[in-house]
Structures are given as C-alpha cells and as structure tokens.
C-alpha cells in the first residue's frame, strides 16, 4: 500500500473506531438491547444472517430491483431531456409531470403504486421514479446551456454532426450528468429499500428489515441497515470509479 493510501486508510479506520466507540457507549448508557443494541449484538446478528441462503438471495434481488429501476430511470431521463430540449411541445407536456414527481412524497407514490403494481416490482418503479426527474433536469439544462461558440466552431470546421455530438456536446454535459447520476443512485437505493419495507416483497432487504422490526429483533434491524448502507456505498463507489474514466480530463 502506498504511504498516501496507508494514511487515508488509518484516518478512515480511526473515524470508524470513534463512531463504534460512541455506539457502544450509547448502548451501554441505555442498557437495553431492544432500544439500542451493542455493536457486538448487531455483528452477531449479521453473522447469523450471512450464513443463510435467504439473506444472500434477498441482497441479490434487492440490488437487481433497484439497479433495474435506476438504469431505466437514467435511460428514460436522458431520452426525455433530449426530446425536451429539441421539442418545446414535449417539454411543455412533461414539465408539470416532473414537477409533480419532485413535489409528491415518495411514501405517497409507494402507497399509490402498490395499488397498480405487484409488490416485487414496486422497488423498480419507485427507484425509476426518483431517478427520472433528477437525470432529466440535469441533462436538459446541460443541453440548453451548451456553449454555442463551440458548436459554431464545429460548424465552421465542418465537423460531422455525430462527431460534434460525441466529441463536443457530450463531454460538456458529462461532468454534471455524472454528478447527478451518482447522487440519483443514493436516492434510488434509499427509496427502493423504503418501497420494499412498505410492500414487503418476497426475498428483499426491506422485508428482512420490516420482519426484524415486527419481531422486535433490534440487533437484526441494525445489522440489515448496516448491510443496506454498505451496499449503497459500494454501488456509489462503483459508479464514481466508472465515471472517473470519462471525466479525468482538465477543464
């Protein structure tokens, strides 16, 4: 490990230990595992979960549902943004829909969607719904704010439309798109798990959480929550790492 990375790791480990100590102190002060379980109890509960196939199936299916919703939200958001920037009628029609999605609380959508959609697909739909307006707005703003001077340069030098799209337009929009796509992933993940908690589909992290809460297994609630947070972190790091390949240029 490089000295710089070692320093980073030590710093991170020190912060983690500090919060674990704080958690342990809080648990000891309250003195009831039902209210605040100790880190040890949560860890043991997690260990119990990790040896069951059901847990891993729940992890896999939850991740797949949310990723499916996220990716379809990104694709639809980009397509919608391009059409909105190109056709004012399209923008006029869909602008109120985007405002509505942003304004209505996610819980309302979950309850409403539960009427129309099977519980195992609800997380897909809710993740999609959270991601769509974020990506749409970012890309549309990026297209509208493209610096016309560079497009004029491309025109004068007879750069083909396709080359202009990939070499001029997209690189200008990419940094804001990636920032938005990264934060949208966090929203997709949180709202997707929330949808699973409410609709309790088979083999889902949300159901595990809800069941643990129902049976007053607080250490398990903590353990599953830690898994949800860890998965969110891993997915976010994966997106950031992929994004770095595209944006590692000087502006």
């Amino acid at each position: 490990m490089k000295p710089n990375n070692t320093r980073k790791f030590l710093k991170w480990a020190a912060v983690a230990l500090l919060w674990l100590a704080f958690w342990q102190l809080a648990s000891a002060a309250v003195g009831k595992e039902l209210l605040i379980p100790s880190p040890k109890a949560a860890f043991l509960s997690l260990k119990e979960l990790c040896v069951t196939a059901d847990f891993w199936l729940a992890v896999l299916l939850s991740v797949l549902r949310i990723i499916a919703g996220y990716l379809s939200g990104v694709l639809a958001g980009v397509a919608g943004a391009v059409l909105s920037a190109r056709f004012s009628v399209f923008k006029a029609v869909f602008s109120p829909v985007l405002h509505l999605i942003r304004a209505v609380p996610v819980a309302s959508f979950i309850i409403l969607a539960l009427v129309w959609i099977k519980s195992q697909y609800l997380a897909v739909f809710i993740s999609f719904l959270m991601v769509l307006p974020m990506i749409w707005t970012t890309v549309e703003t990026g297209i509208e704010n493209l610096d016309r001077r560079y497009l004029e340069m491309a025109k004068v030098f007879r750069i083909s439309p396709l080359k202009t799209l990939f070499q001029v337009k997209i690189p200008f929009i990419l940094p804001s798109f990636i920032a938005s796509a990264t934060s949208a992933l966090g929203f997709a993940w949180k709202s997707g798990v929330a949808a699973e908690v409410i609709c309790r589909p088979e083999n889902s992290l949300g159901r595990l959480l809800q069941d643990a809460k129902t049976y007053l297994e607080t250490p398990r609630v903590f353990a599953v929550t830690a898994v949800v947070a860890l998965l969110s972190l891993i997915l976010e790091l994966a997106v950031k790492r992929a994004a770095r390949r595209f944006t590692d240029v000087k502006h």
């Binding site: 004029e152 030098f157 007879r158 750069i159 080359k163 070499q167 690189p171 200008f172 240029v249 000087k250």
Partner: protein
C-alpha cells in the same frame, strides 16, 4: 469568387450593417478595417454562415470551404492542443508542423487551461491553418501576441495561404500590411455592443 451584395443586418433595433457590398476575388487578401462596433465581426459571421443577413445576399461561384480564427480561441477545454486540431480531421504530422511553426510544438499535449493567452491564440491559428480551406477568415488573430510572435505568425500564415483567399479583421494596420492585405473600410452604423465572432 465571393460577392456580398447590399447586405443589411441589425441586432434588434440597432442597425449594424446597411447596404454593405463587397467583392473578394480568388486568392485576394483583404482586411476589414474600422472602429469597434462598426460591424466587421458581424460581416465575418455572415460570410461564415453563422448569421443570416436580413437583407441582401452572399454568393460564391462555387462551394467555398472556410477556416477561421475566432475572436476567442474556442479550443475545447477537455482536449489537448493536438486533439483540438486533429478533431477537425487533420493528421497529426500536419498539426505538429503548424504548431512547430507557431513556436508551440511543446504544447501539443497540454490542455488549453495550461497555456498562456498568447499560446492559446497561436494554437487557434495553427488549427485554422491545418484545416482544409479555400478562404481563411481571421478575426483579430494576433491579440495577446508580442510583436516578435506576430511577425512569425504572419509570415507562416502568408506562406500557408499560397494563393488562397484571406479575410482579416484587425484594428492594427501594421498587421494587415504584414499579411499583404488590401484595406477595406467598414464605417457605417457603428454599434456599441458588437457580438463576438
């Protein structure tokens, strides 16, 4: 070759060009000369097809390929100098030879943000010279360059033109003389907030 007939252009209520006519022959070198805001850059934009004259016409005997140095450098910030030049379809060797002639061969792999204003200007000139063109359009190409670099750049431009047409906009008559341009005064309807090329 290029005929500009009675063109008029205004930004909103403010007329910039009114019934302006000009004829530029093949291989001719002209300099549009006049005070700030008289419509020189607007005229270049109309010639390049970036603006449409509200009246009059710009006609050419054949399809003319233009190359340009804009009033700003317009180098893509996320591409190196060499990538900016090869983006327009030029091969690397030609691009590098023009960069060398402009004295910035070492900057080929640098990003525009890593260069001084004068270096960026020279990179923009190198890009314009690398392109395939019949008519070279230069809008204040030497702004930010010292006299030594102006002389070198002008000599290289002159050498590269080899019989092709040049339309220059500048405030400095010496620059027009360096490039051997015929001076065309543009005086009518001065307008304060001229749109940059």
């Amino acid at each position: 070759m290029l005929s500009i007939d009675n063109i008029s252009f205004s930004y909103g209520e403010n007329p910039v060009l009114e019934n302006f006519s000009l004829s530029v022959g093949d291989g001719e070198r002209i300099c549009l000369f006049g005070k700030s805001g008289c419509g020189k850059t607007t005229l270049l934009r109309i010639i390049l097809g970036l603006e449409k004259a509200q009246q009059g016409s710009v006609t050419a005997g054949r399809d003319i390929k233009y190359s340009a140095v804009f009033q700003e450098d317009r180098l893509l910030p996320f591409k190196t100098v060499l990538q900016n030049i090869t983006l327009i379809g030029a091969d690397e060797q030609t691009a590098l030879s023009h960069l060398a002639a402009m004295g910035i061969r070492d900057c080929a792999d640098k990003y525009p943000s890593e260069l001084s204003g004068g270096m960026r200007r020279r990179a923009a000139i190198a890009r314009a010279l690398t392109a395939e063109y019949d008519c070279l359009v230069l809008d204040e190409p030497f702004s930010g360059l010292d006299s030594e670099n102006i002389r070198k750049a002008a000599a290289h431009i002159s050498e590269c033109l080899s019989g092709r047409t040049l339309i220059l906009v500048t405030h400095a008559k010496e620059e027009a003389q360096l490039l051997g341009c015929k001076i065309i005064p543009v005086e009518k309807n001065a307008y304060d907030t001229e749109k940059p090329l």
